[in-house]
């Protein structure tokens, strides 16, 4: 037996002193209350008759003394918080990591979900543990993590706060030294588990049909758009899948597709629907199949912005890439001039400056390629020092509207101007080569985008992503940007202090952080973020690849089985105190019946 609160010597001293004190107090002659009676004549007769009980009287006193000593020693021992491994088990420190990836929301055959099973398993691990065992619970979304504690209510509350989410699951950063690690998971998520971690699996095979991708692509030959839908069947067997696509322009939904297709087991089917004319609005796709275990991936949304013509003035000394690309865009009414003919601010929708920048900022949005230093542009002037840039793009922000779907991987750049941009909440470096900003965007009106290298100094214009970049910039400047595509969970929009609402107009709680706005989108849906005149549509869908509810990746790990219920699950001192209380009650009962004294 060990003691958690005192040393064994201290407990021995405490017990010894308690024993002496109890015996001394017991034999301390207390003066009984004196009661005058008329005569002891008759009392003496009674007491003489009761003389034969003297032996019993001594036994009663001995019994009382034993009870008092037992009660006092139990309390003294309880103060030392004793632990006996044979009775309550050795105290442990256990870290329980509960997988909150989205596949944990998959339904199981008993009508519950994998998450329900995982939570029950975690609660049972905690509830059946010894009283001295301490636990730390955390999820894989990084939202919930407790300290190491023996407080069951705190642990239960933490488990209550957890819920499956589409956030990328990662193993939480915890101190695992000398601690038992148990991961409660269905084994689908790819978690970098520590070596000592053991897995308590709640996996159960399930059928799932999901929308793997929904995308509205503008730019057909006729200038129209296309809806591309990919449906995946993660079930082992073929499924009859009902597919429905609707377009909601603000009135009654316009059904664009409604059909039933057979999708083979572990296979995908794709559908493309051409959109004639110039419609705009929300696009909602749904799939349904019997036995579908996961509902969150059965819907997907996108948004088709209204088309708009743009008058663009290109000021360049000669750039075939820009001229050709802008001339081919059906939305663009292009005017080309050399810098010496730049008339100053005139009525166009936007400017494109190639290796040129006026001294005064135009009142319209501006796209600049390798601009010279200007006060309005970078907070520096033309004499700003220039440094050779690195030759490759090392970092870019795909979440920014102008770089959406734009890959700058392997883009080669010979040289770029190194302008010292005064970055603030409205001005962001969205692509850089080391410390050299390559693409800088300012969201404050009037907007501008500065590409700090010349197209002749890089192969960016030769890349497939360049037209997409130009289209993104024009769309961003036009103010009716293509929808931002985000995953369910915490959504970040590059608008400062924006208000967020659903497409139906319901407000969504949002918070600002570092010039961006964040809000929670637990299910697929279309949201609108507004900040001043700027407005962005956000299509939130489940990321592709998270719907495979049968793709177990956690294999070869030690498995944990739920332990059998333990009879004594609390600390030993609680039982000692309970026993002392019971004995005190017994002593009280016997005292009042004169069984003890």
């Amino acid at each position: 037996m060990t003691f958690l609160a005192l040393t064994a010597t201290q407990v021995a001293w405490l017990c010894g002193l308690t024993l002496v004190a109890v015996i001394a107090l017991f034999f301390l002659k207390l003066r009984y209350p004196r009661v005058a009676v008329a005569s002891l004549l008759l009392w003496e007769r009674v007491l003489v008759d009761n003389q034969h009980r003297s032996l019993l009287e001594r036994l009663r006193r001995l019994l009382s003394l034993l009870l008092a000593i037992t009660i006092a020693l139990l309390i003294a021992l309880a103060l030392g918080r004793p632990e006996a491994g044979a009775i309550t088990g050795e105290p442990r420190e256990v870290v329980i990591v509960v997988d909150t990836s989205i596949t944990m929301a998959a339904a199981t055959a008993d009508g519950q979900t994998r998450w329900d099973h995982a939570r029950e398993a975690a609660l049972r691990l905690i509830g059946d543990a010894g009283g001295a065992d301490r636990f730390q619970v955390a999820d894989t979304s990084g939202r919930v993590a407790t300290a190491m504690t023996a407080d069951r209510s705190q642990l239960d509350a933490a488990l209550d706060r957890m819920t499956p989410t589409a956030a990328r699951p990662t193993f939480p950063q915890l101190d695992l030294t000398d601690r038992e690690v148990i991961v409660v998971s269905d084994g689908i998520a790819r978690l970098a588990l520590p070596r000592a971690a053991r897995v308590l699996s709640v996996f159960e095979p399930a059928d799932n049909v999901a929308i793997a991708d929904l995308e509205v692509v503008a730019g057909g030959d006729g200038g129209g758009s296309e809806i591309r839908l990919v449906v995946a069947n993660h079930s082992p067997d073929a499924k009859e899948v009902e597919i429905a696509i609707e377009m909601d322009a603000g009135g009654d939904p316009d059904a664009r597709l409604a059909e039933v297709v057979t999708v083979a087991g572990r296979d995908v089917v794709a559908r493309t629907i051409a959109i004639e004319g110039s419609p705009s609005g929300a696009i909602l796709a749904r799939v349904a199949a019997d036995g579908d275990a996961l509902a969150v991936d059965d819907e997907a949304v996108d948004y088709l912005p209204p088309p708009r013509g743009l008058s663009v003035a290109l000021i360049t000394s000669g750039n075939d890439f820009l001229e050709t690309l802008l001339a081919l865009d059906a939305r663009v009414d292009l005017t080309v001039m050399t810098p010496d003919l730049y008339p100053g601010d005139e009525v166009v929708d936007l400017y494109v400056f190639d290796e040129f920048a006026p001294l005064v900022q135009p009142s319209q949005p501006v796209l600049l390629f390798r601009p010279p230093g200007r006060a309005w542009l970078a907070g520096s002037d033309a004499t700003a020092p220039l440094r050779a840039s690195e030759t490759g793009v090392t970092d870019w922000d795909e979440t920014h509207p102008i770089l959406e779907f734009v890959s700058m991987l392997d883009v080669q750049i010979v040289g770029a101007r190194h302008l010292e941009f005064a970055t603030d909440a409205a001005t962001r470096v969205v692509a850089a080569a080391g410390q050299t900003p390559l693409v800088v965007a300012r969201s404050a009106t009037p907007r501008w985008v500065s590409v700090n290298f010349a197209l002749d100094d890089s192969d960016f214009a030769m890349r497939p992503s360049f037209p997409m970049f130009m289209q993104n910039v024009l769309t961003w400047f036009a103010g009716n940007a293509r929808p931002l595509r985000r995953s369910v969970g915490t959504v970040e929009v590059a608008l400062a202090d924006a208000t967020v609402a659903t497409i139906d107009g319901a407000d969504v709680p949002a918070r600002s952080r570092l010039g961006a706005t964040l809000f929670e989108a637990p299910t697929p849906g279309l949201y609108v973020a507004s900040s001043g005149a700027a407005r962005a549509y956000v299509a939130v869908n489940l990321p592709a690849g998270l719907s495979d509810v049968n793709g177990v990746t956690l294999t070869g790990r030690d498995r944990v089985e739920l332990p059998p219920g333990r009879w004594l699950s609390s600390e030993l001192w609680t039982y000692l105190l309970a026993l002392a209380l019971a004995l005190a009650a017994l002593e009280w009962w016997t005292y009042h019946r004169r069984i003890t004294v």
């Binding site: 009984y32 004196r34 005058a36 009676v37 008329a38 005569s39 008759l42 009392w43 009674v46 008759d49």
Partner: protein, 295 residues
């Protein structure tokens, strides 16, 4: 201490006037009162004849009988005499128990009997006793003496131990006329109640034992560990007042009362047991009547 005001009120005294002490025997007395005496004398009611002897009063010769029988016979008349009543009040410390105290209650009983006796012209003597006889209130006759009785009783206080044998022995040696001896006591005598009563019995007194019992004596409400203190001797005894012990005590007390009652019955002594908690008026008017003490 008993005061006169606590003994009786006027209404109660009025009721007592109609009560009558009945003696089971006739006793000789010094004064004519309202009871027939064994002694023949100058009363109005004819009792018997006897032969004339020299010196007899000629006026009592029955001349009609002489004419018929030619013998000188003297007419004898029953003489109505007063009755000596000796009231013994136990004033030992054990009588200080109860609410009201047994002594108060005993004084009320004694006062009531005194009043009845005085009202019927009996000679009443009040004698307190403990382990010795106290100063007595000498023979009184007539209702007007009741205030002396009240004053005397009002001055009684409990104290000392009980020894009825020694007390009554001293009384009997004083050659008192035979009469009714009423002993008002709790009879908790360390030397036993028998010797004291026998002492009076051997002196041919007609004895009434008024056994005054308090609730504390009969059914003590004790609880827990206690040290009992004898009110008379001061001796102590530790007890654990368990229900079984209290039950045993009550049983012993009941046996004690039965012993006293059996003793009185065996020797034809009057016996009355009353509790101090019983209203005193009820005791006088009902309990005594049920026991034929008063008519």
């Amino acid at each position: 201490m008993v005061t006169e005001e606590t003994l009786f009120d006027g209404e109660f005294l009025k009721k007592l006037e109609y009560l009558h002490i009945v003696s089971k025997r006739a006793f000789a007395g010094q004064y004519r009162a309202e009871r027939r005496a064994r002694k023949r004398g100058s009363g109005l009611e004819f009792a018997d004849h006897r032969a004339y002897a020299a010196g007899d009063d000629f006026r009592r010769v029955d001349w009609r009988a002489y004419q018929r029988l030619e013998k000188l016979l003297l007419r004898l008349f029953e003489e109505e005499e007063d009755l000596p009543i000796y009231l013994f009040v136990d004033c030992s410390r054990s009588m200080s128990d109860g609410h009201p105290t047994k002594l108060t209650y005993a004084c009320q009983v004694a006062a009531a009997l005194c009043y009845v006796g005085l009202a019927h012209l009996d000679r009443v003597t009040l004698t307190p006793y403990t382990d010795h006889l106290g100063r007595e209130l000498a023979s009184q006759r007539g209702k007007g003496q009741i205030f002396k009785v009240f004053k005397f009783l009002g001055q009684l206080a409990s104290g000392g131990m009980t020894n009825a044998k020694d007390s009554f022995e001293k009384f009997c040696r004083s050659k008192r006329p035979r009469g009714i001896a009423v002993v008002v006591s709790d009879f908790l005598d360390p030397h036993g109640f028998e010797d004291g009563l026998n002492m009076l019995r051997f002196s041919h007194h007609d004895i009434f034992a008024v056994h005054v019992v308090s609730q504390a004596d009969a059914d003590p409400k004790l609880r827990g560990d206690l040290q009992l203190v004898d009110a008379e001797t001061g001796s102590t005894h530790d007890i654990a007042a368990t229900p079984s012990l209290l039950g045993a005590y009550k049983k012993v007390y009941a046996e004690f009362c039965e012993e006293l009652e059996r003793f009185c019955a065996r020797y034809q002594l009057g016996y009355v047991r009353t509790q101090t908690e019983v209203p005193f008026e009820d005791v006088i008017l009902q309990v005594f009547r049920q026991n034929r003490f008063l008519t």
